[in-house]
């Protein structure tokens, strides 16, 4: 058994390593001079935006949020709350990835088409505002996941300073807590289209059904979960600790999700895991 005293050196070593990587990030940002940050209101982009503001000054930073049907309203609220509280310069722009049939068909590289649209719009804003660099919030852990969106970013010259500095999600949560950011322990909140299995067309109606169901589960007190849209069926992935509670309150859970527009409500026995819809993809496709 590990005692608190024995664990302390490990925690201190982790903090020292994170702070070292933070210095690397600051050095990268210094080299940018000015930056536009793709800002979703998630843990990573919030952290990057605040560090950039502190390093470059607020006149040289612009956090930009792309709004579309796939962007969760709950995430939007967080994004706005943070920019207000921390004085981060912020702009919202509309994106129209749903109008692209290649995106709407929901292939396994769907994110490529979404990010191509996003970075195209944000690149235009950066040029109009005279901002030298466009950056995203990808971190060092993201290279291990299936992220076709990263290719779109790379093609459009988007930098990933958190990743380049070697900052992991754990580092970013630790440093965010030090900065007093409310997002430090926020669960990952990818776009709503990520709840649709590849091959099921992305439509505004399906995205709204997912959002309504997830809002209803949050109202019931659940926090770490996904509602996966399988047509007429919703498959709930819940954190193992929350599965017990869902089982105890099943009639309420089922009723809330069914009311969002699902005829069948299913409880995944394996629980919530990040990137679950990538399971079953061929390995080469996952790393493309």
């Amino acid at each position: 058994m590990t005692t608190p005293d024995a664990a302390r050196p490990d925690a201190e070593a982790r903090r020292a390593a994170a702070e070292e990587r933070l210095r690397g990030l600051e050095s990268l940002l210094d080299g940018y001079g000015s930056v536009l940050i793709g800002y979703s209101g998630g843990v990573d982009s919030v952290f990057l935006a605040l560090v950039a503001c502190e390093r470059l000054g607020r006149d040289n930073v612009l956090a930009v949020t792309g709004l579309s049907d796939a962007y969760p309203a709950v995430q939007h609220e967080t994004a706005l709350d943070v920019v207000r509280r921390f004085g981060i310069p912020h702009l919202e722009v509309g994106t129209s990835e749903l109008a692209d049939p290649r995106y709407a068909a929901n292939p396994s590289n769907r994110c490529y088409y979404c990010k191509t649209e996003l970075w195209s719009v944000l690149g235009r804003v950066a040029r109009e505002r005279g901002l030298a660099v466009v950056a995203d919030g990808s971190n060092a852990d993201d290279v291990r996941d299936h992220r076709p969106g990263a290719r779109a970013a790379s093609e459009q010259g988007v930098r990933s300073p958190l990743q380049e500095a070697g900052l992991t999600k754990a580092d970013i949560r630790l440093l965010s807590r030090d900065l007093g950011l409310p997002t430090w322990d926020q669960p990952a909140a990818p776009c709503l289209a990520s709840r649709l299995p590849y091959g099921l067309a992305v439509t505004p109606e399906r995205l709204r059904a997912v959002e309504r169901a997830e809002d209803a589960l949050r109202t019931l007190g659940f926090r770490a979960f996904r509602v996966r849209h399988h047509g007429d069926a919703a498959r709930l992935e819940l954190h193992p600790l929350e599965m017990v509670r869902a089982a105890e309150r099943w009639p309420a859970v089922r009723g809330a999700v069914a009311a969002a527009g699902f005829r069948r409500v299913l409880l995944d026995v394996d629980g919530y895991r990040r990137g679950a819809l990538n399971e079953g993809l061929p390995v080469l496709e996952r790393i493309a």
Binding site: P197, G199, L200, G255, V265, L267, V269
Partner: protein
């Protein structure tokens, strides 16, 4: 014969498996999944759910969650990507 084995056999003898009326009884995957559940003494309807019919829905009460979860990998090996319970309940 051990007590555990006898209990399992008794359970199987009493089990009546059904296939959802929406699914074809010719789906070999469902028959295989039923066999896995039968071996574990679980009595439940099974059906293929979702637009791609790649979710195995086991119509069992939530009290069976842990038992079905323990069979997840074996059930996936029958040809489903995801394994889920479909507990009964009034969606009211």
């Amino acid at each position: 014969m051990s007590d555990a084995r006898r209990a399992s056999d008794d359970s199987r003898a009493k089990t009546e498996y059904r296939v959802s009326r929406e699914e074809s009884v010719d789906d070999d995957r469902l028959a295989s999944a039923r066999a896995v559940l039968t071996d574990a003494g679980i009595d439940a309807d099974v059906s293929a759910a979702g637009f791609a019919a790649d979710v195995l829905a086991v119509a069992a009460p939530v009290t069976q969650l842990e038992r079905v979860a323990a069979l997840s990998e074996r059930l996936k090996a029958t040809g489903f990507r995801w394994i889920a319970l479909e507990p009964p309940g009034d969606p009211g």
